[in-house]
Symmetry: C2
Subunit: 280 residues, 2 copies
Amino acid sequence: MRQLGIVGVGLMGGSLALAARERKLFDSIVGCGRSDESLRTALELNIIDRALRLEELIASSDLIALAAPVETIVALIPQLSAAKQSAVFTDLGSTKTAIIRAILPSIRARFVAAHPMCGTEYSGPKAAFSSLYQDRIVVLCDTEANDKDALEAVERLFGAIGMKIVKMRSQDHDRHAAFISHLPHAISYALANSVLNQEDKQSILTLAAGGFRDMSRLAKSSASMWIDIFKQNKPALISAIGAFEGELKKAEKLLNDEDWEALKAWMRSANALHDIFKSS
Amino acid sequence: MRQLGIVGVGLMGGSLALAARERKLFDSIVGCGRSDESLRTALELNIIDRALRLEELIASSDLIALAAPVETIVALIPQLSAAKQSAVFTDLGSTKTAIIRAILPSIRARFVAAHPMCGTEYSGPKAAFSSLYQDRIVVLCDTEANDKDALEAVERLFGAIGMKIVKMRSQDHDRHAAFISHLPHAISYALANSVLNQEDKQSILTLAAGGFRDMSRLAKSSASMWIDIFKQNKPALISAIGAFEGELKKAEKLLNDEDWEALKAWMRSANALHDIFKSS
């Protein structure tokens, strides 16, 4: 693979470029993006060798990674048919069913749908760093549709930057991602808003310690990126929110009923989560 | 002050002892606790100089810090009347109204009710470390009831171990603590339980990345400690849970209605939390 083309040079795309560059996986790395400013920053930070227009990037790259917000990925997929016959495509989007549905049949075998399970609450090229993907999991979905060489090329890339590969059906991915990532974002936004709507929010926040800061960290996440994810994973997210609300209602009822034994048992059962983490 | 007596040599009490010892604030530090094992560990880790029975500790100490679960604090307060006339008391409990209500009038002026806004999800003497309190906030409540010398002794102690002192009414503290600390715990327990109740919890947790780990960290917290806090701060906690549920319902409705502009605005408003953090 000679040229890596990255569409979207922000946290995810920029970090992929830096990780690939560090390991000299490509002869050149090119990028495109929505704003000239991001591209200038990406060039200055040595994230990409050259900034190209999208059409140029698609026509000249051997491996093309879509690292844009998920609605943008869906919108630009049709243009990929102008790529070389041998080109391989992947994406770094947080939803998989909607993206896979958007892939044209003519390039379906060449497009390996991926979701690297990592990120931070920051965005843009300045947020990128080369170790973002190290030792993290990447989920590849519905790979039975892929050409062997295309799948191998994408596995080689993620493997080379230190990722552990997990394969699953896109529907399972979306259901799991709703619980692991999309629901926690909804909760964090809701927690932040519930404090911000208090009259004495300033005095409340003066007291905020580590626990609250952890729980509200995701509420920093970019609204324009996350609205797309909520949109594309609506049914799974609604069902995860429902499961969570059911648990919180359970606690609220036990608290109202002053059923301390049952409420304590409910807390104890939550403690078990971390035993499962250890064993996974 | 010659002798510091610590009731409960776990994370909070043990860390207070270590911080005080490091700065040589007392001639000796003694402790008592529910289990012989904790006391043995506290002695081995050089957290306390001697283990005493509660009555001995109360009779012989100059400053007594109650670092037990909050229901235990309330239960043992009556015994403090056997202390020296000049003794000063403080507590490290996460609720303040119920504890202050339990203080006997005869020692009210000597008891400075405190809540250091720090902690970890771990408990017991092995979890203690001397920098736990460094640069954190301690809230002192209803201090107009205190003797000047008693208040100064407690302020000196917390000041010496690096804490910033904030004073407020106990009712305000409890309302704020419900949002900042007790609600986040309820949410974290509920999030953990909602995932644990899924059939494929193991495959879900395989994918868990940083965001989920942050959001579920508090779900490790000791159930026997937290049930006491929920019990004592029930009304404020119920009202904080209600505010949070209202926000989550708002998001759920916008998601169901596919009102993407309004949902994005809701996310954006949550982003503002961290600007307030920066300025506080």
